[in-house]
Symmetry: C2
Subunit: 237 residues, 2 copies
C-alpha cells in the first residue's frame, strides 16, 4: 500500500516533500483545469512561468502567452487563464507560455519530486486510473489562494484520495487527507452549491463567467493527463 | 460584524496576523487543555517556554517545570503535559513553567496580537461567551502537529466559529473557517469515534491514557478562560 498525504498550502510543502514521491498539483480555479483544457485542445507543450517578469520574457521570445494575476489578464499577454480560451484554433500543436496567480508558482516549488502530475476535477478519472496502475507515495498539493487554504482545491484532493483508497493500492494516515475526504463527501451531492461558500469563487464572480466556473467543477470534461517534466507540461495520457 | 479567520498551521500565521486582532491558540492534545486544567486547579501563573533550553533554564531558576517533547516528559522536568497532572496539590497558587511540542511555540509566534486567549473543548463556553461579549476580529490558530494540519485542533476551531457565528456578532469569509465548521458538524455526534482517524491520537496512544484523551475532548470540563499577557498566562475569567 502506498501512502497519500495532502498539503493544504504551498507554504507547507517542505513538510511533505520527498524525492521518491509523486506530486499532484491541484489548482481547480483555474490553472490545472485550464492546463487540461489546453492539452485536450491539442497544445503541444506548456511552459509554466512563475513570475510576471518571466512571462514578459517568454512573450518577447515569441511564445504565445496566457497569463493573469488576481483573475485579470496581463496587458502584454495574448489571453488569460480560463479553460474556454484554450481553443484548438489558438493552441493546437503550439507551445504556450502560461503564468497564473497560484498554480504556476506551485509547479516551480515541487520541481524536485519524482513525478509531477496535473490534477483537477476535469481529469479526475484518467489521473486516478494512472495512479492506481502506477502506485507510488503521493502528495496532493493544493495551490490555495496566495498560500492560504482554499475549499475547491481541498475538495478535489479529497475526491482523488477517496478513489485511490477505494482501489486498495493506497492508504493514508494523514489528517489533511482525512479532512479533505470528509469535506468532499459533504460537498459532492451538490458541488456547485457547496462551493458557494468558497471565497475564491466570489473573488472570480465579476471576472469570469458562471460557465467557466461550472467547467472547472465538471468531472472528466477534459479527461487527459498532463505532466511536468524538464521545464514543460506535456500529455502523458 | 467581526470577522473570523482560521489558521491551520503556525507556518501560515504570517498570512493572518494583525495587531488589531484577537488570537485564540488551540492545541487540544494537550497544551491548551492542560493550561485550562492548571488554571482551574488554581495555578497562579504559567510561564510558557518554547525551547528545551528555556525549559531547563526555568527549572534552574526555581520554577516548577511541566515539560514534554513528542509526548514524553523531559527528564529534568517535574511532570509532563497531561491535564490530570495539574492537580491543586501540585499547582495551587504556584507559578509553573510549561513547555510542549507544539502549543507553547505557537504562543511565542502570536505574541504581537492585541489579545491572546487560550482555547480548547474544555473551556468552549466561557471562551465563546467572552468573545461574544467582547467582539473583535479573531484568528483561531491551530497549533497542529509539527506545523502540519491536525484534525483535533481544526474541529475545536470549528466548534468555536460555529458558536460565534450563531451569536450574529461574527461572520466569516474564510475557507478554512468554513471547512472547520463543516468538519465539526460531521464529527460532533460522536467526537471520540470520529477522532479515531486523527494521527496525533494514535501517536499518543502508548503514552497517555484514554482518560486523558477523553478529558481533552470533554466540553466545558475546565471552564475557565486563560489568557497570555506580558510573558505569562493567567486567569481572565
Amino acid at each position: 500500500m502506498e501512502l497519500i498525504e495532502t498539503c493544504f498550502s504551498p507554504l507547507l510543502y517542505d513538510l511533505y516533500k520527498g524525492k521518491d514521491k509523486t506530486v499532484v498539483i491541484i489548482d481547480v480555479l483555474r490553472a490545472t483545469s485550464s492546463i487540461c483544457a489546453a492539452i485536450k485542445a491539442g497544445a503541444k507543450k506548456i511552459l509554466p512561468v512563475a513570475t510576471i517578469e518571466q512571462a514578459y520574457e517568454a512573450k518577447q521570445n515569441g511564445y504565445i502567452l496566457a497569463a493573469e494575476r488576481d483573475g485579470k489578464v496581463l496587458d502584454f499577454a495574448d489571453f488569460g487563464n480560463s479553460p474556454d480560451l484554450f481553443t484548438p484554433e489558438r493552441v493546437k500543436d503550439k507551445v504556450i507560455a502560461y503564468s497564473t496567480t497560484n498554480g504556476t508558482q506551485t509547479i516551480e516549488l515541487v520541481k524536485d519530486a519524482s513525478k509531477i502530475l496535473i490534477g483537477s476535477f476535469v481529469n479526475l478519472s484518467v489521473l486516478t486510473e494512472y495512479m492506481i496502475q502506477n502506485p507510488s507515495p503521493v502528495v496532493l498539493v493544493c495551490s490555495g489562494w496566495k498560500n492560504k487554504f482554499c475549499l475547491e482545491d481541498t475538495l478535489c484532493s479529497g475526491a482523488i484520495a477517496e478513489i485511490l483508497i477505494k482501489s486498495e493500492k493506497y492508504n493514508t494516515f494523514c489528517d489533511s487527507t482525512h479532512a479533505a475526504i470528509d469535506l468532499w463527501n459533504q460537498a459532492k451531492p451538490d458541488l456547485l452549491n457547496y462551493l458557494n461558500k468558497a471565497s475564491h469563487r466570489h473573488r472570480l464572480k465579476n471576472i469570469v463567467s458562471y460557465e467557466v466556473i461550472k467547467y472547472c467543477f465538471t468531472i472528466d470534461i477534459a479527461n487527459v493527463l498532463p505532466y511536468y517534466d524538464n521545464g514543460f507540461i506535456t500529455r502523458l495520457l
